[in-house]
């Protein structure tokens, strides 16, 4: 086709003309690597024995990539890369700041631990059902959600992680799993649909979905129903994060899949909801957040108190762990409700702690059940005699989950309590302390009954010490070591989570990284 026009087109008006520096590719590599590995593993479906050999080094590589990314953004500030070289806000932007990189790194560590635990926990049937490909795609969704800078793109990553979580949840197709999965699937699909509605209204109001662009415009727009929009976003993300009163899908489903899958879900999925809530309500719509903060605070309080009561009332250890996940969500929401740098950095720190500790908690429950053959507090027992080293590590982890010193749960709780008192919300501080106390009782009882009490049905193993199985004990040990180190030397995570909170409250650097020319059209 011969070109008939001779009008010179100035491409630099629409395109990024300079190729991105090599280091910027780190921004897109985590999701790209995970999607690629997922595809490779799906092609290897006839040789499921090799899945673990490919997946675990892949997840280790993901940890390294995310660590490099975190180092890069903490030194250089937020980094942006746009798809197809279109100038923002037209191209879909991946913008990474300290908050996103931090969450991505910690969730990659949790996924690596779960991947190693899966080597012994997931049978060959489970692998043939596609455990490892689903795990890779789940991590693609999680990393993408943490790294993207575009609201609609965030929705797409939500759906990616949701559909892979469906696959993981029904791995094995047991009757219980199908029951749990039906409730999980319908309610989570509703949650993402609400998110899509909110995205649609956002585009109708602002004409853009780029987060940096939205941040600029939301501050000086008037006459738009932004409060309603904020409410819709809060509802959608509260549903994803399992906040009261839209959290009943979590205790209904999280105890049904294989324990490694529960560990992944408990660690990662709800925190993606918290991340999105913070990103949208704090950075994009700070004015509306202030108006909604009382509601978020009340939701946080009720979530915490009901979750800790739920922990006390559970007989099944896995369901108790599910309520522990919800308790953490309540704490993070309390930090979000305060809306101060101290409260937000407390919430970020709690999210990091919760990702690691919840994954480890489910793995501990799984190993305890594997050692004794029971999941219920009534029948389990005698593990201390059989596996003293494991009992020691479990105690450390249970104390960390309860938020006692010297483990990682302590510091975010202190920050959250102080931040709530600073803004005069004594009831929020009281809620954090009371629910923490109740959860300590529940977890103390778990240790007492599961580890110290002799097995009620008589010890079939004669109390013989068991051989340590490193694929299931190794991840627990590793995660507990990180949690302990994080509690003993909190400076480094503290500084990073403070940087994350400041980056959300004062997004000038984020905006500057997207609009590098300094012009916002």
């Amino acid at each position: 086709m011969a070109s008939t026009t001779s009008t010179p087109v100035d491409l630099s008006l629409a395109f990024v003309m300079t190729p991105p520096p090599l280091g910027d590719w780190l921004v897109i590599l985590p999701p790209a690597l995970m999607i690629g590995l997922g595809a490779v593993l799906m092609m290897m479906r006839h040789s499921v024995r090799l899945h673990g050999v490919v997946a675990v080094p892949g997840l280790a590589l993901l940890v390294l990539l995310d660590a490099a990314l975190l180092w890069k953004v903490s030194v250089e500030g937020p980094v942006t890369m746009v798809m197809g070289r279109w100038l923002p806000p037209f191209g879909i932007a991946f913008t990474v700041d300290v908050f996103g990189a931090l969450m991505a790194l910690v969730s990659a560590i949790a996924a690596l631990a779960a991947g190693i635990a899966a080597l012994s926990d997931i049978s060959e049937t489970g692998r043939r059902y596609g455990f490892f490909p689903f795990l890779m795609l789940l991590m693609a969704g999680v990393s993408g959600a943490f790294l993207t800078g575009d609201l609609f793109n965030l929705y797409v990553w939500f759906e990616v992680l949701l559909i892979s979580s469906f696959g993981l949840l029904i791995l094995g197709s047991e009757r219980e799993q199908i029951d749990g999965a039906l409730k999980y699937a319908i309610l989570n699909l509703l949650g993402t649909t609400f998110f899509l509605i909110a995205v649609g209204y956002t585009y109708a109001i602002f004409g853009t979905l780029n987060m940096a662009d939205l941040t600029l415009r939301a501050r000086d727009i008037s006459g738009a129903p932004l409060m309603t929009l904020g409410g819709l976003f809060i509802l959608a993300f509260a549903m994803k994060a399992a906040a009261f009163p839209v959290n009943f899908w979590l205790p209904a489903s999280y105890h049904t899949p294989r324990i490694t899958v529960s560990a992944l879900f408990g660690g990662l999925l709800t925190k993606v909801g918290i991340y999105a809530l913070m990103r949208v309500m704090i950075m994009l719509f700070p004015v509306q957040h202030e108006e909604w903060s009382l509601v978020i605070g009340i939701l946080a309080l009720v979530t915490m108190v009901l979750a800790s009561l739920g922990m006390l009332a559970q007989n099944d250890l896995r369901r108790l762990a599910g309520y522990a996940v919800i308790l953490g969500i309540g704490n993070m929401l309390a930090g979000i409700a305060t809306g101060t740098v101290a409260g937000l950095s407390g919430a970020v720190l709690y999210a990091l702690h919760s990702i690691l500790a919840m994954t480890a908690l489910y793995l501990v429950v799984g190993r305890a059940a594997a050692l004794s053959g029971h999941f219920t507090l009534q029948s389990i027992g005698g593990i201390y005699r059989r596996a003293p080293a494991f009992a020691f590590v479990s105690l450390a982890l249970l104390l960390a989950v309860a938020g006692l010193p010297p483990f990682s749960g302590l510091w975010p709780k202190i920050m959250l309590v102080k931040a709530s008192i600073d803004i005069g919300a004594w009831w929020l501080a009281a809620g954090i302390l009371v629910s923490g106390f109740l959860s300590t009782i529940a977890l103390g009882r778990v240790f007492l009954l599961t580890y110290w009490r002799p097995a009620p049905g008589g010890d079939v193993h004669d109390g013989a010490a068991v051989r340590t199985d490193w694929t299931s004990f190794g991840p627990i040990l590793g995660l507990t070591a990180i949690v302990t180190l994080f509690g003993l030397f909190p400076e480094w995570p503290l500084v990073l989570s403070q940087a994350a909170a400041i980056g959300l409250m004062e997004p000038a650097a984020y905006i500057g990284s997207v609009f590098q020319g300094g012009v916002a059209p």
Binding site: T5, I163, L189, T193, N315
Partner: protein, 125 residues
């Protein structure tokens, strides 16, 4: 035109919510299907509905002429349709399996994962 479609979207939403309040999983599924279409129509309307102004950027212009329908929401819908369709397919199979395995489509009776007579944890040591 937008006004009429807005009313249609509202009707879709109310039908979807009414169906989803049902206890029976098949009705919930129908509700979810209608909800997905309601959201797609909502997105579609948010980009203006008009055929009068073609969405073509003429010579010497940088942007669409005023009043042209915005093609971006239509691209968003395409993504959303694909996603909601695949989810709906998955949910259909899941509901069918649930009906096969659990022998009921009444969600009140699906208590396998959360049994009604779940015992309390031991009070004493």
């Amino acid at each position: 035109m937008e006004f009429l479609v807005a009313i249609l979207v509202g009707a879709f939403f109310s039908a979807a919510i009414y169906l989803m309040l049902s206890k029976h999983s098949v009705r919930m599924l129908l509700g979810i299907a209608i909800l997905g279409n309601a959201v797609n129509l909502l997105l579609f309307t948010s980009g203006r509905l008009t055929r009068e102004v073609p969405p073509i950027i003429g010579a010497g212009m940088d942007t669409l002429p005023a009043g042209a329908a915005n093609p971006l929401p239509q691209a968003l819908i395409l993504t959303a349709i694909v996603i909601s369709f695949s989810f709906f397919a998955f949910l259909l199979v899941l509901t069918y399996r649930a009906y096969q395995e659990l022998g009921t489509d009444n969600t009140d009776e699906m208590r396998l994962a959360e049994p009604k007579d779940d015992p309390m944890p031991p009070i004493g040591y």
